[in-house]
Amino acid sequence: MNINATLIGQSITFFIFVWFCLKYIWPPIRNAMAEREQKIADGLQAADRAQHDLELAKQKIAHELHEAKQQAAVIIEQANKRSALIVDEAKQQAREEGDRLKVAAQAEIEQEVNRAREKLRRQVSTLAVAGAEKILQSSIDVGAHNKLVDKLAAEL
């Protein structure tokens, strides 16, 4: 156990290793770690912000949904009104058309009736003449008696 120059050798070695550590080991490792800490802190902050943004977006969505529902309700109401209106209009039209048709039909019926009456009248006169001829068994001046027959027919 001698004290000798190893002492000085170790001192010098110690200095060199400390210097090496100071220069090439400590700063890069510490810097990398500090950088990483910063990055993680930033990341956490970003996550917080994203959470906040999400919350805001959710609120906005709820709000817009509510508005859209209201709008839809308004639209449906308008549509209902409008359809009621259309149905009313259609009813009115249909009624008018029906009335018109009814009038036309009645007119036609009246015409038919008139025509049939005319026809009947004519046949009756002929029938009456024929009947009278049979009764009298003699020829009668058709011209002379037409006035009488027509008068008879007109009374029908």
């Binding site: 156990m1 001698n2 004290i3 000798n4 120059a5 190893t6 002492l7 000085i8 050798g9 170790q10 001192s11 070695t13 110690f14 200095f15 290793f17 400390v18 090496f20 550590c21 100071l22 090439y24 080991i25 400590w26 890069p28 490792i29 510490r30 810097n31 990398a32 770690m33 950088e35 990483r36 910063q38 990055k39």
Partner: protein, 307 residues
């Protein structure tokens, strides 16, 4: 046990460093195969025996312990340097995690104790902790392996080869005195020469009358000097003592391996148990050396308030 011989020889062999140094002129050297010759002039050579190493005095270097200290230091530097290259702000992996954990641990310890701005302290603490830990770790390599390897390589069956650097008092004191030097340097740098002298002379006893102070100065100087000098010595010897004792026990256990299979088995269990316990010791001692260094540096930066 390497090379046979008695237990005492075995122990002595294990506690002798491989020294390279200057033998003084007129030293009578005993040859390897008996016989002796007197050196005509001083010679730089490898010491063949503890006696020769003693005769070299201060002009000698313990090649084995200093060598292993440099090797372990290089291992630390290389490992951490590689990881420092890899370190990015991205996700760390594998060994980088471990390295960053140590760096974080050292950084916390330094920040807890040292409240001044000095960029040297934390890297120095990291170097001290890791380097001393690695040097201490050599203690866990079975005591005969590396000496036997050295004996094989050199062809000398009695090759002295001490593996654990921290069991060499030169190594621990070398570091302790360097720390001491830095302490004095920072002390003077922070407080000025007068401040440093005042710290040595006006503490711990201080009177309000100047003539009483003059009487107190020698007492203060003696007390403060002793406490100042005691710092590096206790720092170095604490580490040395713990590791020396630890290694001694490993050597004693290793002797038992040669004493029959029953004792050998027992020795195996003992060695394992002591090694497990020693893991704690080597880590703790590295930590203690580091913390004390930080504390001393903190004291050096501490500008004393007036008492």
């Amino acid at each position: 046990m390497s090379g046979g011989g008695t237990s005492a020889e075995y122990i002595k062999h294990h506690l002798t460093n491989l020294a390279y140094g200057k033998l003084p002129a007129g030293y009578e050297r005993v040859g390897e195969h008996g016989g002796s010759h007197v050196l005509e002039e001083s010679t730089w050579t490898m010491a063949r025996s503890p006696e020769e190493a003693s005769a070299m005095g201060f002009n000698a270097v313990h090649v084995d312990t200093l060598g292993w200290s440099i090797v372990t230091g290089l291992v630390f530097c290389f490992l951490f340097w590689r990881m420092a290259q890899k370190a990015t702000a991205g996700v760390p992996s594998g060994l980088l995690n471990f390295v960053e954990m140590i760096v974080e641990f050292i950084d916390t310890t330094v920040k807890d104790t040292f409240h001044y701005s000095n960029k040297l302290i934390a890297p120095m603490a990291l170097t001290i902790f890791c380097w001393i830990f690695l040097m201490n770790l050599m203690d866990l390599v079975p005591v005969d392996w590396l000496p036997m390897l050295a004996a094989k390589l050199t062809g000398n069956p009695h090759q002295y080869f001490k593996v654990v650097p921290t069991t060499d008092v030169n190594i621990t004191l070398g570091m302790a005195f360097t720390v001491f030097g830095l302490m004095i340097f920072f002390s003077i740098k922070e407080k000025g020469v007068m401040g440093f002298v005042k710290e040595l002379t006006l503490h711990p006893f201080h009177a309000s009358k100047w003539y009483v102070n003059i009487l107190l100065i020698p007492i203060n100087l003696i007390l403060e000097s002793v406490s100042l000098i005691a710092k590096p010595i206790s720092l170095g010897l604490r580490l040395f003592g713990n590791l020396y004792a630890g290694e001694m026990i490993f050597i004693l256990i290793a002797i038992m391996f040669g004493a029959g299979w029953a004792l050998g088995l027992f020795a195996g269990v003992l060695q394992w148990a002591w090694a497990v316990f020693h893991v704690l010791v080597i880590t703790l001692q590295a930590f203690v050396f580091m913390v004390l260094t930080i504390v001393y540096m903190s004291m050096a930066h501490d500008v004393e308030e007036e008492h």
